[in-house]
């Protein structure tokens, strides 16, 4: 028999704040976390816009050996996971006595790779690169570090699926629990924030160049959008079987109802309408819900002309003329890439808990496709009992998740 899969904790470290309460305030008020990084301009970036956040000081929280193999994105993920465990009421003793898995979405650790290579070029001796470089450089840096720090003994792996990495990590964690392979899985996504990881992406010319007004640069679905803004941080959620949560008396915050995925089988960077439509429909089918039950859609929309238009059409294909509120929190965060699919579940969980729909800031004029959707540039006070969240990535990878409130 399949297990029900519930969420018992979550944590966030992003350009909207370094904890759930701060992020809640930013989401409700529509505060942008975007700024201009002068260093990127000095180095020759076409756009210096980025999400702005500072690295946490872990010196008082972790020993040297626990920190030394951790790249920037791992530091963010440690903070968000610590917050998620705390919310879930899971302490060190519980971690030691149970088989808990970890699945994180991450697709680069570019800064560690580049800095390690530069050091090698300078020293011309591999034994002078230090012990941390290899553990910081691998895509699985987040899961290898967190599983060691928290002494996790279950499934331990990283999902790399471009900008759908975090969403797929949650979906796959859901499958492990649903089929009884794990009773608890820490899921999430992490994204480094530095010029090293974004120079080649900047070179594609897909970043917004509204540098004179960073807060208005990310404008998903707006007619005058001119590109995305890279951002990052980390988001974590504690997924658990319903039975496990009830047995230990945990507060159940939501239930993952379904996970849909698809691949476009098409262009490497250009989106299409068919792939995302199938992803959304697969999630709805697996959830066993009716479209009418969806109270809110957290869109993937990144503020690129092509991508947003395709998603607007895909959403319309599924919901038709229903006036379900749709917003892209990327209007405030920028595109949190490998982390986005996980952070947007956390953002939506915050909205569901506090009865509001976060705004799609900077949405001033629709285009022909977004005009068919119910998109608000301002917060809406309303109850959310069930939401859909989309994530799409390079290579045409698509992931959709449906979460409901436990009533």
């Amino acid at each position: 028999m399949d297990n029900r899969v519930v969420i018992t904790g979550y944590g966030i470290y992003s350009c909207l704040g370094d904890n759930v309460e701060t992020v809640r305030n930013s989401l409700y008020k529509g505060i942008s976390g975007i700024g201009l990084d002068k260093e990127r301009k000095e180095k020759g970036f076409r756009s210096g816009l980025t999400g702005i956040l500072s690295r946490p000081d872990l010196k008082t929280l972790l020993k040297r050996r626990q920190r030394i193999g951790m790249a920037e994105e791992g530091e963010y993920a440690y903070m968000s996971t610590l917050e998620a465990f705390k919310m879930a009421g899971i302490d060190e003793q519980y971690l030691d006595e149970h088989e808990i898995g970890i699945l994180f979405g991450n697709d680069t650790s570019a800064r560690a790779v580049i800095e390690g290579h530069e050091l090698f070029m300078e020293k011309k001796d591999t034994s002078l690169l230090g012990s941390g470089t290899i553990f910081q450089s691998m895509n699985s840096t987040v899961t290898m570090n967190l599983s060691t720090i928290f002494r996790l003994k279950g499934a331990n792996m990283t999902i790399s699926a471009a900008c759908a990495s975090g969403s797929n990590a949650i979906g796959l964690g859901y499958i492990l629990i649903k089929h009884g392979l794990q009773s608890h899985v820490v899921v999430g996504g992490a994204q480094e924030v530095n010029y090293h990881s974004m120079s080649s992406f900047d070179g594609l010319g897909t970043f917004s160049i509204r540098e004179d007004d960073p807060a208005s640069a990310s404008r998903p679905f707006d007619r005058d959008r001119d590109g995305l803004i890279p951002s990052g941080g980390a988001a974590s959620l504690i997924l658990e079987s319903y039975d496990s949560a009830v047995k230990r008396g945990a507060k159940i915050l939501g239930e993952v109802m379904g996970y849909g995925f698809s691949s476009n089988g098409d262009h490497i960077s250009n989106s299409n309408v068919d792939g995302p439509t199938r992803s959304i429909n697969n999630a709805i089918k697996l959830s066993g819900i009716n479209v009418d039950e969806i109270d809110y859609i957290n869109a993937h929309a990144t503020s690129t002309p092509n991508g947003d238009a395709s998603e607007a059409q895909a959403i319309y294909n599924v919901i038709g003329d229903r006036k379900i509120p749709v917003s892209s929190t990327k209007s405030m965060t920028g595109h949190e890439c490998w982390m986005a699919g996980a952070s947007e579940i956390v953002y939506s969980m915050i909205m569901m808990k506090h009865d509001f729909v976060a705004p799609n800031i900077n949405f001033e004029n629709p285009d022909e496709h977004s005009a068919k959707l119910n998109i608000s540039a301002h917060s809406i006070d309303q109850k959310i009992n069930l939401f859909l969240s989309n994530s799409f990535g390079f290579g045409g990878t698509n992931s959709s998740l449906i979460v409901r409130n436990i009533i």
Partner: protein, 85 residues
């Protein structure tokens, strides 16, 4: 070439060991067991090679460490290497 004073070598080593391995300098004593006090594991020796190279421009390998038990052994070994003994 100017001769480096032994006490300066000791001071320099104590400073970088304290910083790198995050132990209070007062814990580092000449007769103390270096591996135990610095809590060194196999990976830490990789980092020890790096800090020695950064501070003295000399490179140690794993066989060199096998002869070092106390901090004094370490001071003497480094001092001999940089003095060309």
């Amino acid at each position: 070439m100017l001769e480096v004073k032994y006490t300066d070598v000791v001071e320099k080593i104590n400073v970088f060991l304290s910083e790198e391995f995050e132990v209070d300098k007062s814990q580092i004593t000449a007769d103390g067991n270096m591996k135990e006090i610095l809590d060194l594991d196999s990976l830490d020796y990789v980092d020890l090679v790096v800090v020695i190279e950064n501070n003295f421009g000399i490179k140690l390998n794993s066989e060199d460490f096998s002869r070092i038990q106390t901090f004094e052994d370490f001071y003497n070994y480094i001092n001999n290497r940089i003095s060309g003994k």
